[in-house]
Point group: C2
Chain length 396, copies 2
């Protein structure tokens, strides 16, 4: 146990971090809150946080030009009600090249997950583990969660045959899939997604969360990613949910969208999702609809994927201390193989190196306590994470 090497002071800090972690429940402690409560921590890198920091830089460029330097425009965003959802749908329509009636704007993906589960799940929802905990936490009380656990021996890959068999046996009305999956980054390719949808046409509801799809690729071609949004017209039981926090690095805005059958969009709007997106988030959606922005964003996206892949490869070289799992998201799951716990590693990295990683021991399916999730940040930050992990290794 490496924590034996911690000083008494470090131990006390570790204890305080742990307490905050427990208070935060199944979501990582907000880092600003953590720093407020434990000012002794000198945070350098938040590798818990899943976003492309280069995309944030780009959005800030436009924000400065459009709003910070034009306070009267900012005032209008502050003072006025944002547009109603159907107007935001028409903005999304320009971005996604899909009919506005199929598009729903949300106050972050979290709101959409909540809305979709509460309005459209019936009685039994199959959820693939490990997963983003909101998918079972936000389930309405009358909907039962049926867990389908990915096989660690099979690198947490999604085995379609096994999944379909499980669905046939346990008869859920709803299936939830995250692609690439969070927290392991496992990717289900376009062909498999289509096979799955073909096989499950009689299932009332299939939810695919594509919040990390912008980071995925097939055949090492980074210029294309394969979103299933254009399959919603064909498969009427399909709902795609997409956070915009990850790819564009704007979690503070609370912006996300969903693609679903027009009837469902209408139902959500009628049932109260009307002014759910803030004025600033609306500004951002309008920014996404600008071709110039997209042209500047695309190389940033590809570049980030490229150096993220490089980072993951280097992490892979840390075996046999760690095992890495295949990821096409902007994070990677590490299993600790030398007996150290995820909690010890997390505390150690934070206290000694100012690096915050995601201890996964609160995640269903990963409770054994040897898993941490590490996000790809800037190139330089990734190198520092590698350096710190290497340091642990060489000390043994």
């Amino acid at each position: 146990m490496i924590t034996k090497a911690l000083t008494q002071n470090e131990h006390q800090l570790a204890h305080r971090i742990h307490t905050l972690h427990q208070q935060a429940g199944t979501h990582p402690t907000n880092i600003l809150h953590l720093l407020e409560r434990i000012p002794e921590i000198n945070l350098k890198i938040d590798a818990c946080f899943l976003s492309n920091p280069y995309a944030t830089d780009l959005v800030m460029d436009y924000l400065k030009r459009d709003l910070l330097q034009q306070p009267h425009r900012f005032r209008a965003l502050l003072e006025r009600y944002p547009s109603q959802n159907h107007i935001l749908g028409s903005i999304l329509s320009k971005i996604l090249d899909l009919p506005a009636e199929m598009l729903f704007a949300g106050n972050g993906a979290a709101e959409i997950i909540h809305a979709v589960l509460h309005n459209f799940a019936q009685q039994r929802a199959m959820i693939i583990l490990p997963t983003f905990s909101a998918f079972y936490e936000f389930l309405p009380l009358h909907v039962q969660a049926l867990f389908h656990t990915l096989d660690k021996q099979d690198h947490f890959n999604l085995d379609l045959t096994r999944l379909l068999k499980d669905i046939q046996q346990r008869k859920p009305d709803t299936l939830v899939l995250i692609n690439p999956n969070n927290p392991n980054g496992g990717y289900c390719d376009r062909q498999n997604i289509e096979s799955l949808l073909d096989a499950l046409q009689s299932l009332p509801l299939i939810i695919i969360d594509e919040s990390f799809i912008h980071f995925s690729y097939e055949h090492q071609q980074f210029d294309v990613y394969h979103s299933a949004i254009n399959l919603v017209e064909k498969y009427k039981n399909l709902i795609i949910i997409k956070s915009l926090s990850k790819d564009f690095g704007v979690a503070g805005l609370r912006a996300g969208f969903a693609v679903m059958h027009p009837k469902r969009v209408q139902q959500l709007v009628e049932r109260g999702y009307l002014w759910n997106v803030s004025g600033l988030a609306e500004w951002f959606l309008r920014l996404l609809a600008q071709e110039e922005f997209q042209q500047r964003y695309e190389p940033i996206r590809q570049h980030y994927i490229q150096h993220t892949g490089h980072f993951f490869k280097q992490l892979g070289n840390l075996e046999p201390i760690f095992k890495t799992y295949p990821s096409k998201a902007n994070f990677i799951l590490l299993e600790i193989l030398n007996g150290m716990s995820a909690w010890d590693l997390t505390a150690l990295l934070l206290i000694r190196h100012g690096i915050y990683v995601r201890n996964c021991d609160d995640k269903k399916g990963l409770e054994s306590g040897e898993f941490v999730r590490i996000a790809a940040r800037t190139k330089e930050e990734n190198q520092q994470v590698l350096y710190a992990l290497n340091g642990l290794y060489s000390k043994r």
Copy 2:
């Protein structure tokens, strides 16, 4: 009918406005959307919009200082997840001097209305008409709306005896009250609110929407308003909902809060209201908690109430063309007595004077089509509204 005096061109514009109004359903057409679609309109005053514009000026002062002039701080708000609801609860606790466990932060009052109705209303909700339509539109399908209609002959005053009798007869489990009421501004004083709560202690749920309480007063003393938030500890069936859009003029932020029994706050958070408030709205909540801000805000609030009262008095002098109803909110309900329809008046004011008022003919209880709601804006804008209405009058 005054619209007979409209030119053909004006008639066409009126028709286009009407179409947009119908598309917007039971909420007024977003003014920016209206201007986008009908650029011929030269909007000067949005007297449909219910906010204190002087408060917006004040918030902008702080926004410039804290964020527009410090882009790195804005970047943090943009990039990072906002705090979870329990942290926002502790900020609200400083503002409201109530225990954090009783406080729930919402993505605008609209989200809170939705959340409260969907989580706590049981089968029968009594709603007082006229009202803010969200209260019946957002009701879950299994909850029946029982309407209790205020008496126009009694100036839409709330008659407690009649209300209590109606509750006894129709046995709702939920009562919704807006105080001051929207759209007529009728006010139920502190003593009556307490009598009502005393009489209804066995009712499972009483919702009081106090979104306009900051504009109310008793005995012409503008320095005190009587919120019922401190009654929630005594009456466990009480939930207070409060928009912050109106008093502070920041509808674009989507910020509101509710005060309720700690168990209910916990239930909402557990059921998915977790990151529902944006980073910018969190900045605003932290601003409200600053004493300096409150000290600067208070005279602005009182001054606005004062000149709003003066405006309402002047509108009252427009009788016998219009009848005004008593209001302690920042808007007033006008009944048109000369045979002109609310729709005609709305179109005429918008086309000829660039003044946007709220045609209430879509509001349950006011469908007769002779009611408009006029918001108090700046002193100068109020004078222009008076001038325009006077002009109509003298032309006859």
